[in-house]
Symmetry: C2
Subunit: 354 residues, 2 copies
């Protein structure tokens, strides 16, 4: 059976890194005898310029006919003057998340041992590196809660959650932890927010079905501290939409290289959207110097979750590790004694190990 993949390269470094991701996917398909069909579609600023909207109907249609979306990144200074609701990030990403009910956002924050020097943290805090998984609820909370608006001199947003929305993301978190180091840290602000009090109650209930997984609760303000103090204490970090946005960016910075971090946005079936955690990096776009590894690891996640091929995932992951072991680095992760390579060279090198 052929798996259909919508390719939404977007803006900035998106097209360059997506190209490398596709090379890797093709090489992986050969090796594992997978049949993949790629359909490119416009998104973000590029779509605004050509069709007046960040997420054209045709693009949405292509995604709807696909098994997975391979997403680059969107946005850039030329669209920053647009009203907030028309800007590429918001106008492309939020409707995609909502339309496809992509409620579970997986953001692994892994400090590769080869890149320990790149982390802003002191060596004794990092130790042998860390590997945590932020699990962010992606289709509810203050991002989508109603009412939201302005009246007279007042503006308001609504943070709301329903029990089943918390149950399903919590289940994903516990199931993931079961396959990892068996610990879930649930983030909330239960000393202030009513939603957090309910969040905590529901998570405690769900945890009963996973007696082999340890559960702890942590306030968001404390979590923002603990991530820096000792990132190795975390395994799976379960967050609502807004807290997950903040903590995943913070965690990614601790790895020293947002260019290394993939993400997967999943729903109940096999459909998923895969994109690097970083943005479109307009300052380095078009120079063939961006790090394609986040995009390539996103391709690995696509194999695992949408194609049901963890073996293909592991092969890509290990190819990346081998290339890092051989001391090849893009500029963002360059350090003394290593060999600097371009975006496309990095893509080639990784393909060579598959």
């Amino acid at each position: 059976m052929t798996a259909k993949i919508a390719v939404l390269a977007g803006d900035g470094i998106g097209p360059e890194v997506v190209e490398q991701g596709l090379k890797v996917l093709e090489k992986t398909a050969q090796k594992f005898n997978l049949s993949l069909e790629f359909t490119p579609a416009r998104v973000g600023g590029a779509a605004i310029d050509q069709e007046g909207t960040a997420l054209p109907a045709a693009t949405l249609q292509i995604c709807q006919n696909s098994d997975a979306v391979f997403f680059g990144s969107v946005g850039g200074p030329q669209w920053e003057k647009l009203p907030p609701e028309q800007q590429p990030e918001r106008a492309a990403l939020l409707p995609l998340r909502q339309t496809f009910n992509l409620y579970a956002n997986l953001r692994p924050a892994i400090l590769f041992k080869q890149l320990k020097n790149a982390s802003p943290l002191r060596a004794d805090i990092i130790g042998e590196g860390f590997d945590l998984l932020i699990l962010r609820e992606l289709t509810s909370g203050i991002y989508f809660g109603q009412p939201k608006g302005r009246a007279d001199d007042k503006a308001f947003d609504t943070l709301s959650y329903r029990v089943p929305e918390i149950v399903r993301i919590a289940k994903v978190a516990f199931a993931a932890a079961r396959k990892r180091r068996k610990k879930v840290t649930s983030i909330d602000k239960a000393n202030v927010l009513t939603t957090s009090v309910m969040w905590r109650e529901v998570v405690v209930e769900v945890a009963k079905d996973y007696p082999d997984v340890a559960l702890e609760h942590m306030y968001i303000d404390n979590a923002a501290m603990q991530l820096i103090k000792n990132p190795r204490q975390f395994d799976v970090v379960l967050c609502d939409n807004m807290f997950g946005d903040i903590l995943s960016d913070e965690a990614s910075m601790l790895t020293g290289s947002i260019g290394m971090l993939p993400s997967a946005s999943l729903s109940d079936g096999n459909f998923g959207l895969y994109e690097p955690s970083g943005g479109s990096a307009p300052d380095i776009a078009g120079q063939n110097i961006a790090n394609p590894i986040a995009q390539i690891l996103s391709a690995a996640l696509l194999c695992k979750y949408s194609l049901g091929r963890p073996d293909a995932h592991d092969t890509i992951f290990s190819a990346v590790n081998q290339v890092l072991d051989e001391n090849y680095r893009t500029r963002d992760i360059m350090s003394a004694g290593c060999q600097e390579v371009s975006t496309s060279q990095m893509g080639e090198l990784i393909c060579g190990k598959i």
Copy 2:
């Protein structure tokens, strides 16, 4: 004229560190010929145990009759089983903030050059240390917005701001920046939140009255990264209530010693509440090992803002610096080649320099 100071020592390390803060205030009063009158009052878990409520009416009355509140810290494991709205932190702090309209929370995050080794950040990122001021809106936003509640299987909180609430905190931020390095970074999530769009508009308006101060806007997720990547880029960081809660804790951790960080919560007049940024630290309470410097620097802020004596503030600040220069350290900031001292010894040493 005698200045009346309500002393709410609270729980955990609160009483121990407040005692040192009072010693320093008394010594400072002698030196500068200030007349201070201290009135102790119960708050937090101690008040719950004795009077069944975290903020007894008598305590509120004492605060109302005072010019400033010198606050220790509240909370501890023995009260964690209480319903959220009765827990010491929330039930004491939130009503105090609201009753006294303490809308401007100043949280300086200073990495003292003597303590560079204590920071979790790499030496090259820290450089000669950093000194930023988080200005957090403290009486509105999602902490107090209505409606807030539960219905059926749903829970909700409201994030709301009115224009004048943003104007007044923005003015405090720009006025503070004017006396510092003349830069305000305003934090929001204007790509998602309606309140943030208005926040940004209002801050831009207020900025027009401070043409000598540079203004930049930063999304909260990016700010959580930038604080770690390069804390030295910030001068004054202007935040709403929730974002300020998160960023101030993150920033405090970067200084490596939450035991060093004071805070002031101010309104329009001279009245203010002064407390360490850290919590009640029940694990080390009663051992005479807690760091009293945050409390002592909070006393310095009290002199500056409620007594109108910046000279007294500077004297206390410089006393702390001298004691650090002489390599005296409490356990939390201890490092090789230094002399470890107790809570009360640290208080004595600082008094000795005033």
